[in-house]
């Protein structure tokens, strides 16, 4: 899809003026982009990044007055499809390399410009009341248990299936563990936050989400069962600026903020792994 002509024309006319702005020489820890008009930055980010990115958005706006950061949070698969269909955006942050690669292939992101910026791991959650009396990971295969997972197209869904594969190969688990667990699934949600909500509400007996989803506000809403490293999956998050962004400098600045020590601190605070 071809980008609209008018905003580009406007930018071409105004950009030379902003470059002459004397304010541009002041530099705080992260580069401040001189702006003379209200800029909006559109960031498409995986649903699991909601909390840390909201914070980083506020930080970015504080560092760049006049700039507004707008986020669209959804399953990475949905965002990738939107970008492939030409949705306008400036930054894309995906919970899996697979969807970043799809966007690169669609030429919305320059090959090689995407960077891994954080990692995540899976955790099993259950309602505070623990109606199914889950104590160990093996309990996930208990007949009659209601398990809520993400659809396999969602990164977290695929990671969950990978975890089940690993567990089935582990001697501590029944070889049919994965099949038995999948028999317990009652719903395949299309993003990770839906799973969290349904488990927190007590509708499902268990779910598998990211460790970052159960930090901060969500911490008290669900019980957590850790998945040991040997069985766990490392989700590698990838970030990139969109090649036809209307604000490439601003987009790069936001990406730099995410990669910077400040950004990494915010992510770590939300239980992401550096």
């Amino acid at each position: 899809m071809r980008p609209k002509l008018l905003p580009i024309l406007l930018l071409m006319i105004l950009l030379p003026n902003t470059a002459c702005n004397p304010q541009a020489n002041l530099t705080p820890t992260t580069a401040r982009i001189p702006t003379t008009l209200n800029d909006t930055l559109t960031v498409l980010a995986a649903a699991s990044l909601t909390a840390p990115f909201n914070e980083l958005g506020m930080l970015f706006e504080a560092q760049n007055p006049g700039v507004k950061v707008e986020f669209s949070y959804a399953g990475s698969q949905q965002l990738a499809q939107q970008l492939i269909q030409g949705a306008p955006a400036d930054v894309f942050a995906s919970a899996s390399q697979k969807y970043m690669d799809m966007v690169v292939q669609a030429n919305r992101v320059t090959q090689g410009s995407d960077k891994n910026f954080t990692r995540n791991r899976l955790v099993v959650i259950y309602p505070v009341a623990n109606p199914a009396r889950i104590k160990t990971l093996q309990d996930l295969a208990k007949p009659g248990l209601k398990l809520d997972l993400e659809a396999r197209e969602v990164p977290a869904g695929q990671y969950s299936l990978d975890f089940l594969d690993k567990a089935s190969k582990d001697p501590a688990f029944d070889p049919n563990f994965k099949d038995n667990v999948l028999k317990n699934v009652v719903s395949y949600e299309e993003n990770v936050k839906s799973v969290l909500t349904k488990v927190a509400l007590g509708e499902a007996d268990a779910g598998i989400v990211y460790l970052s989803d159960v930090s901060g506000n969500a911490a008290g809403q669900v019980g957590i069962l850790d998945i040991p490293d040997a069985l766990n999956v490392t989700a590698r998050y990838s970030i990139a600026t969109i090649s036809d962004s209307h604000n490439p400098d601003l987009a790069k600045a936001f990406m730099d903020l995410v990669l910077s020590p400040d950004g990494q601190k915010v992510l770590a605070k939300n239980n992401f792994i550096p």
Partner: protein
């Protein structure tokens, strides 16, 4: 305006190739979604007709304050965003819900079942039938009803022999609207009933998930949905049109 409505529909057809469509049609997930959509939407229509007709009859009576309240209540699902409806249904019938908790202790769990899909669709789509039926019932002239009563007809006889035959066109179009809305229901379904192929994944849900991974699946289902809707609408309008013409002939010859 016409162009605005027609263009997206036409665009769907131009992006799909016939062979790819046929291949998608044979996929199990697609067949399951179609089957589930048909079963649930038809069940919803049936439930709506059975339980909604008395309500419509009530609404067609004189305009009391109570009736106005009922009318506003029936309007609510039309005004609510479907996702809000889904959340509300969860709060009422979920495992920890108002009624749901009690049902759960009796061993009945509604969320994540096909019943939940039907309930979500009924909540969203029934007002269409109820309103249409109420208007149809109200359109039967009081004189006819009085004449029937004078001739000794009981309430049920008046209803089945006078009111229904005279308002069947409104009832039919109400049914079609409810069925169509139920077929297209998404927000309340995915929140209350969840998304599980064969059990709760109706066509709109399959299209939504399919769009994110396999555009062909999404396109196939979209085209099928449009096909269904279009054929049904044409058929029903055809029946209604012919009926109206016949009525017109009758009244002109009589007068």
């Amino acid at each position: 305006m016409l162009l605005f409505i027609a263009l997206p529909l036409v665009a769907l057809f131009t992006y799909a190739s016939l062979s790819e469509l046929w291949a998608s049609l044979n996929q199990r997930q697609v067949i399951e979604a179609i089957r589930l959509s048909l079963v649930t939407s038809l069940s919803t229509t049936l439930v709506t007709v059975i339980f909604g007709t008395p309500v419509a009859y009530l609404l067609a009576q004189r305009r009391s304050r109570f009736n106005r309240l009922v009318d506003s209540l029936i309007d609510m699902p039309l005004l609510l965003p479907p996702s809000v409806a889904g959340i509300a249904l969860l709060m009422a019938f979920g495992r920890n819900g108002l009624v749901g908790a009690w049902l759960a202790s009796a061993g009945i769990n509604i969320p994540f079942t096909t019943l939940a899909v039907i309930m979500a669709q009924t909540f969203i789509a029934s007002p269409f039938y109820i309103k249409a039926a109420a208007i149809g019932f109200a359109g039967v002239s009081a004189e006819l009803k009085q004449a029937a009563a004078l001739d000794g007809a009981g309430r049920w006889q008046t209803f089945s022999h006078i009111i229904i035959p005279l308002s069947w066109m409104a009832l039919l179009s109400g049914c079609v609207m409810t069925w169509a809305r139920a077929m297209g229901e998404f927000g309340a379904t995915i929140i209350f009933a969840g998304n599980f192929p064969g059990r709760t994944q109706t066509m709109p849900l399959a299209i939504y998930i399919g769009f994110e991974i396999d555009l062909n699946v999404a396109l196939t289902l979209s085209i099928i949905m449009i096909g269904f809707s279009f054929i049904t609408l044409i058929l029903v309008k055809g029946i209604l049109h012919r009926r109206m013409e016949a009525n017109l002939e009758l009244t002109t010859t009589l007068s």
